[in-house]
Amino acid sequence: MRESEPSVVSLQHKAYRNTGLGHYLRNAASNKLLYLMILPGFIYFVIFKYFPMGGLIISFQDYQPYLGIRDSPWVGFKHFVRLFTEPTFAMLLSNTLILFALELVIFFPIPIILALMMNEVRHRLFRNSIQTIVYIPHFMSWVIIVSITYVFLSVDGGVVNEIIAALGGSKISFLTSPEWLRPMYILQIIWKEAGWSTIIYLAAITVVDTQLYEAAEMDGASRLRKMWHVTLPAIRPVIITLLILKIGNTLELGFEHMYLLLNSLNREVGEIFDTYIFTAGLKNGQLSFSTTVGLFKGLVGLVLVMFANRLAKKLGEDGVY
């Protein structure tokens, strides 16, 4: 397709080559409606995403709200120096990255597998009810999920520990041991989000050309083979796109979730950028410092997305930009 059109494109380019801006304006004028449709989204991004970025400037200040940006003293890289020299920095970075890696390796494939499995279920009523059931946890807030976990896992009368004790084992303090925090965190995410995340995959699967399946059947492919050679390659672009988006959200591990799980005893493995920004910035009022932490977090995310996008392109996929 792309190969057949360059003549038109290059013609246009030639016509407006010397007037870059004019070209765009004229183009815009002839597609007014299209641009009008973009407008709300454009305004949204300018107001809520780009405009607030100006606030990053306070990471170079000792910002005091009542002095405002104009009168707050400038301190250069003071907050960056503090961030990189504090012992907490290494902890924050490694905790964030480890949790992110776990989420990517363990959580990410689960919705795909789940979607493939649901796609194979032929009984419609059964399939719909399964779908509904696995969606439900998505609509519960983290507070509820963490509270339920707490009730189940508590050492003082929690069901799980009662069972362990009844079976002759010794009780495990799930809630206060650092080694249980990560498994608990990932399992909770799987429980809450796995079902919901299948939606996009299921949608992608429904548009796979049925002729492909028929052809595969003719060749004597088994169900598993069809899944592997037809369904999976067909939804590959979707998987890659979601993967890049996921990486973009790397450091958005979900503040609320982790904040609820944190306590004095598992902080060494649980404190992540989001929770640290909250305690330092909002609780202790160090607005400039927490902005610095946020800025750093954003930069790491940006680098990761660019890396993932390039990787996707190398693998012959489209990428997100």
């Binding site: 709200p65 003082d156 303090s173 809630l175 206060t176 004095s264 005893l265 909002l282 609780k283 202790n284």
Partner: protein, 501 residues
């Protein structure tokens, strides 16, 4: 056609903008439709829900003011106060209960709030605020609000008297005896239900208002900081008492004499656990006894409580000590200059504060309306007659009282009388925080971050996941990350105060 659509869109958008602009305009203090002064108040809520209107209407009637409350739940006070300060969305009165928080302190020092020191003596009730209280609540010698006067030291130990009788032990006077009681409560089936389902202590994830700090006092730990004769400042966790208290807690934990998940237990769960008879020793504010007793009604009807405030580790009466809750200053009721525009308005609000301290309003905020919430006997003793109603309509106001001490009407409830007496007695043995009114910029800025290092290490030590060496390392980290600087700053501030005298 297209042009018209665009115009319509533009109109709608600007309309929306206009609307939102209007919404931002209200909230100023002024007078309402009936000519009453409207005063808005950003207040802290310690109960589950805000009070209903009954008592509020009465207070408004007496003070001739229309009060507009915005309630902040106590659990989220730090972030809410900070965001309010940062965004400038304040009220005429702001309850600042976290004076040690860096942004609150900075705001006070930056002059966001009126300095009220010079005005206090113009008002009869405000005049009664003692010089000591004024000094304690001042920052760099200036008083930026009405200090909330609390009891100086309110903590102690609450025990199940019926369980003590059941296991045949006396009320403990030493920490060793207390350990014995905890052991007996855990192992000797004090509730006599035939199953081994009780523990001695029930505690919550709070090293300050939970058991730990009070136990620390019994071992002679200073309150927050210690200043020696020659002006050396040391933090409490470098004292011998602190280590002993950790060891004590560790013994409780290892032997199962305390709820095993205390490090993640919320206050509500702790109190409910106690009320349900899961444990028999509660360490906290002595006036909690009444609340625990109420909670237990219908669940543990046999519950009898005894309060103790004279436990020591040595058994020697002279060693009695109990840490003081912010030296009796519960915070400041402060008035931002952005809302309270001029002196006349400030005086109007101070008048309102003065009215709040009157016997009449204090009674309303404490006991409620006579014969609706409480009855009065011939000795000015108040008895709550409708606990449910009192909890809904009156209790939420208790944290709004500028003063809690020295009123004629007293609670006639035996538990209340006893806790009031013991808390009063505590004053004599109270250990004050010596650096409370000293300035340390590093502490203001990083103090709470640094404290986390120590808090985490303390928990780990108690749970046996860290030894003395590990704890010492944590202290070293604390010192290196800013602790040393804090100490130097406090020492300098202390010297400055001495030189001024």
């Amino acid at each position: 056609m297209r042009y018209r659509t665009a115009k319509l869109l533009a109109l709608t958008l600007s309309g929306a903008l206009l609307l939102s602009a209007c919404a931002g305009g209200s909230g100023d203090s002024g007078t309402n439709a009936d000519g009453k002064t409207t005063i808005s108040w950003l207040n802290i809520m310690h109960t589950a829900s805000p009070p209903t209107d009954t008592v509020l209407n009465k207070i408004e009637e007496i003070t001739d003011v229309d009060i507009q409350f915005s309630w902040i739940p106590d659990a989220s006070k730090e972030e809410r106060l900070n965001t309010s300060l940062a965004s400038g969305s304040l009220a005429d009165i702001v309850s600042l209960t976290i004076l040690e928080n860096s942004s609150v302190r900075n705001a006070l020092k930056a002059g966001v709030f009126w300095e009220v020191g010079p005005y206090l003596d113009e008002f009869p009730n405000l005049k009664g605020i003692s010089q000591d209280m004024r000094n304690s609540a001042s920052i760099e010698g200036k008083l930026y609000g009405i200090p909330m006067q609390k009891q100086v030291a309110r903590n102690g130990v609450i025990l199940r008297k019926d369980w003590l009788d059941h296991v045949g032990l006396p009320v403990p006077k030493t920490t060793a005896e207390l350990m014995e009681v905890a052991k007996a409560f855990t192992e000797q089936d004090p509730d006599g239900n035939g199953t081994n389902d009780t523990t001695g202590f029930i505690d919550r994830s709070d090293l300050v208002f939970g058991a730990f700090k009070t136990l620390g006092s019994y071992f002679g730990t200073p309150s927050g900081w210690a200043i020696s004769e020659d002006g050396k400042v040391t933090p409490e966790f470098e004292s011998e008492g602190y280590i002993q208290a950790m060891d004590y807690m560790k013994e409780l934990y290892t032997n199962g004499y305390i709820n095993q998940d205390f490090a993640v237990t919320a206050k509500k769960d702790q109190q409910e656990g106690f009320a349900q008879g899961k444990a028999g020793i509660y360490v906290g504010a002595l006036f909690d006894s009444k609340g625990l007793f109420n909670l237990a009604q219908g669940v543990q009807d046999d519950m009898e409580l005894v309060m103790v405030n004279d436990i020591t580790s040595t058994g020697n009466e002279n060693d009695r000590a109990i840490w003081s809750t912010s030296n009796g200053v519960g915070g400041l009721l402060a008035f931002p200059k952005s809302e309270v525009k001029d002196e006349a308005e400030l005086k109007r609000i101070l008048k309102f504060m003065d009215d709040l301290m009157s016997e009449e309003v204090f009674t309303l905020m404490t006991y409620g309306i006579k014969d609706v919430h409480y009855s009065l006997d011939e000795n000015n003793g108040a008895t709550i007659i409708n606990t449910k109603l009192w909890e809904q309509e009156v209790q939420p106001f208790s944290s709004s009282r500028p003063n809690e001490n020295g009123y004629a009407i007293v609670d006639a409830d035996p538990l209340r009388i006893e806790s009031t007496r013991l808390i009063e007695e505590n004053t004599t043995f109270a250990v004050l925080n010596p650096v409370y009114s000293l300035e340390s910029p590093t502490f203001s800025e990083q103090g709470s971050e640094l404290q986390k290092i120590i808090t985490d290490a303390t928990y780990k030590y108690i749970l046996g996941k860290m030894d003395r060496v590990g704890f010492q390392n944590a202290i070293d980290t604390w010192r290196k990350s800013g602790g040393d600087k804090i100490i130097t700053e406090y020492e300098a501030a202390h010297r400055a105060v001495l030189n001024n005298k």
